[in-house]
Amino acid sequence: MLQVQNLSVSYGQASALHKVSMEVNEGEIVAVIGPNGAGKTTLLKAITGLQKAKEGTILYKGNEISGTPAHKILGYGLSHVPQGRQVFGDQSVEDNLILGAFSIKKEKQKIQELIEREYERFPRLKERRSQHAGTLSGGEQQMLAVSRALMSDPDLVILDEPSMGLSPIFVKQIFDTLLELKKSGKTVMVVEQLAMAALAISDRAYVLQVGEVKLHGESRDLLRDNSLVKTYLGSK
């Protein structure tokens, strides 16, 4: 479904990704894990057009999407939940959801239905529908960010560290949601710092270190791989 080939990205003089190749198949959950600064976020940004790639190609459903500006990516059915939630803090929860549906511009009826669907997914959001998104707790903001990204009914959802700064109970809720999405036929790609948890829910995973793919394979195999802890905490 998504194919990344030899992708390299640099910020000015800084190389962030070096010849990264990976793929996501329809219906799976793919995790990208690795320590801070490994280039995980850059990878996602390059896929959804927020960051220009230096070289490499990105194919989505066979279409070349590298170089497509971010605001057009959603049109392909690919939705990105950015790191740190990035909800529109001074707008209401409901407005955030409406903005999530900006690209489909369907009739009001349809948007209302989608909003109701998201409220069902996260009843907390319904309770806080008219509250400013900036006043929500971290966990609620993450729910909102996920729901907002789902408003366009994407086929592939890309999430950037949904667990960041959340308490375990919220982490569980978010990860549960990912499993539900998979069950409902969506494809999920998730970047995570919480490697073990990400491996537990994903089918396959890529381990990134200093801008390169260090390991990849079935998540259950990686779970048993001892070298993983070392990539995180270093070796002496």
Binding site: Y11, G37, G84, G165, Q193, V210, Y232, G234
Partner: protein, 604 residues
């Protein structure tokens, strides 16, 4: 530049041109235009120091210009001073107002800063307009014919006189440009925070930059007052401030010859457009717009990009270097080591609104050790570094340095105490060469004052050469001596990080804080950086190391503090940390989460 050459280009040739001018263009109109050109040029030289070097914005320079004009008019006509004395006094008055504007605008940024300067200019212009008893208002007041030592200066002599001043001020400006003052102006114009942590009191330096700039505008205004023996308030309007700014930008802001070219454009163009008076604004606006789009670095900036003109390249600050030696061994110059407690964080908290970025953190850093601070994203590492370097004032707790309370110190105060840092998001001085970047680091060791630099006395050039050599030695230590003359921002990321380290070392610090020195570097560069840090450690430097690359942290640090959610979760030696379940949990996800998630997988 060699001394003799300097005298020829800075003084000799301009003097000859100035002296010869009337023989070629001897009509009243041309002489008048030449006077206007020279007067405006003096103002532009001053504005270029402010806008071009220190990146400040002034849309109120007409205010200083007017103050210079009216004060000297009043001093000659009512007090009876000689015109030249009154011009100098008025320029000093303008400089004082420059300091006031700087003080008022210290914290203002962007459009707010623009507004402060506009408001000042407008206030002066309103006063000029309305305080008719003193200024004559729009009807104007008469001034005297300028005279020196009893000789009245005719138009040509007055032009010579103005030209002489212009040459002297240009020489002074050039001296400022090439010495440490120019470097410091450029430094805080490029990055205020980096200047501060190198010990530069940015507030003081901004005031100086505004004062110098206002002084020259004041001189220009004073000279203008005697050009026609008449001034009226209609001259001193916002449009003139805008014209001054246009000259700086079109000429090439921050360059040495930009002001000449910029002044030619704003004074010369209207002469050419004389026949198109109805379309004057339109043509001028069109040219300005096209120039801004096509020549973002101004005319001089565009020319220096052509290789033919490269040798004349005068963009930004140059340093007279002398010969840098490679033969003697480069050693790291460090203060005497201190054992025992160097720095203590006592219950430090930093709150942003309701968010506790760090909460009640206690850390002790011992002299001569490398102390690591690690933690996942958002754990409060950056905030801790910002508090340590004085960039943030903590909401609670105390910061003790060798037992002394430095909690309320500004960053430059902390730097004066011997603590400096590097930045995760690089804060290099982009308009300077690598060597100049490092030379800024020696700020607190420089001794020469403003006047000496203005004249560029031997003492100044000795000092420059001394520290250039020292900076070069530091570059050899980090392995960048071959890059010394390149623009800092042209280097690869990893090498830029090394420049920041060398710059910090120039301070001769007791404690160096490295904020993610390996972020964004390639594996090869990381090795280099690691090697440098290791050598600094061996030399006995105390270091705080914030880093994500655990290989570096675990291999170099003597002691590590781990933060999570703004709290210290544990500390100890690298071995302790690597085996501490709390750390593994913070980084990889806790058992709790794993079980929860794993549980759902089987249930689901």
């Amino acid at each position: 530049m060699i001394k003799a050459k300097w005298w020829i280009y800075q003084i000799g040739i301009p003097l000859v041109l100035l002296y010869a001018f009337p023989w070629f263009f001897n009509n009243a109109h041309t002489i008048h235009v030449a006077q206007t050109f020279l007067i405006t040029y003096i103002v532009i030289v001053g504005l270029n120091l402010l806008v071009g070097l220190s990146n400040q914005l002034s849309l109120g320079h007409v205010g200083f210009y007017a103050i210079g004009a009216y004060a000297s008019a009043i001093l000659t006509m009512k007090v009876g001073l000689n015109f030249f004395a009154s011009i100098l006094i008025s320029a000093l008055i303008a400089a004082v107002f420059g300091a006031i504007v700087a003080l008022l605008s210290l914290r203002a940024k962007g459009p707010y800063l623009a507004m402060v300067t506009i408001a000042f200019g407008e206030l002066v212009s309103i006063i000029a307009n309305r305080w008719v008893d003193v200024t004559g208002g729009p009807a104007g007041i008469k001034t005297s014919v300028p005279s020196l030592f009893g000789f009245e200066l005719g138009p040509i002599q007055y032009m010579w006189f103005i030209g002489l001043l212009a040459i002297i001020f240009t020489a002074g400006a050039t001296n400022i440009f090439r010495g440490r003052f120019g470097r410091t102006f450029t430094a805080f114009g490029n990055s205020e925070v980096a200047s501060e942590v190198l010990g530069i009191n940015v507030r003081k330096w901004k005031i100086l930059a505004f004062s110098v700039s206002a002084f020259l505008a004041g001189v220009g205004g004073g000279l203008f007052a005697f050009q026609n023996q008449f001034i009226s308030s209609t001259t001193f309007e916002l449009n003139l401030s805008i014209m001054f700014l246009i000259a700086v930008i079109i000429g090439g802001s921050g360059t040495k010859i930009g002001p000449i070219i910029g002044t030619v454009v704003i004074i010369g163009l209207p002469q050419f457009l004389h026949n198109f008076v109805d379309y004057h604004l339109m043509i001028f606006g069109g040219i300005l717009l096209i120039a801004l789009i096509l020549l973002p670095d101004g005319i001089v900036g565009a020319l220096t990009k052509l290789s033919f003109f490269k040798k004349f390249s005068s963009k930004k600050v140059n340093t007279e270097l002398g010969i840098l030696h490679d033969d003697r061994e480069a050693t790291i110059d460090l203060p005497d080591g201190i054992s025992g407690k160097l720095l203590e964080l006592q219950n430090i908290s930093m709150h942003f609104g309701g968010l506790k970025a760090i909460d009640d953190v206690e850390i002790e850093v011992l002299g001569g050790t490398v102390h690591g601070i690690i933690g996942p994203n958002g754990s409060g590492k950056s905030t801790t570094v910002n508090v340590l370097s004085g960039v943030y004032m903590p909401s609670g707790g105390n910061l003790l340095w060798k037992g002394k309370n430095i909690t309320k110190y500004a960053p430059h105060g902390i730097a004066q105490e011997g603590i400096t840092r590097t930045f995760q998001n690089l804060q290099l001085f982009e308009d300077m060469s690598v060597l100049q970047n490092v030379m800024v680091g020696f700020h607190r060791h420089f001794k020469t004052g403003f006047l000496k630099n203005l004249l560029y006395l031997g003492q100044v050039s000795n000092e420059e050469r001394y520290y250039a050599q020292k900076a070069y030695d530091l570059l050899r230590i980090v392995g960048l001596e071959e890059r010394a003359y390149e623009k800092a921002s042209d280097l690869p990321y990893g090498e830029q990080r090394l420049v920041e380290i060398a710059r910090g070392l120039a301070l001769k610090p007791d404690l160096l804080i490295l904020d993610e020195p390996a972020a964004g570097a390639s594996p090869k560069e990381i090795e280099k950086i690691m090697d440098v840090i290791q050598r600094l450690k061996n030399a006995g430097l105390s270091i705080i190391l914030v880093e994500h690359h655990m290989d570096i942290v675990m291999n170099i640090c003597d002691y590590i503090t781990v933060l999570d959610f703004g709290k210290k979760i544990c500390e100890g030696t690298p071995e302790t940390i690597q085996n501490d379940p709390r750390v593994i949990e913070a980084y990889l996800g806790g058992e709790e989460v794993n079980q929860l998630v794993a549980g759902t997988k089987f249930v689901g």
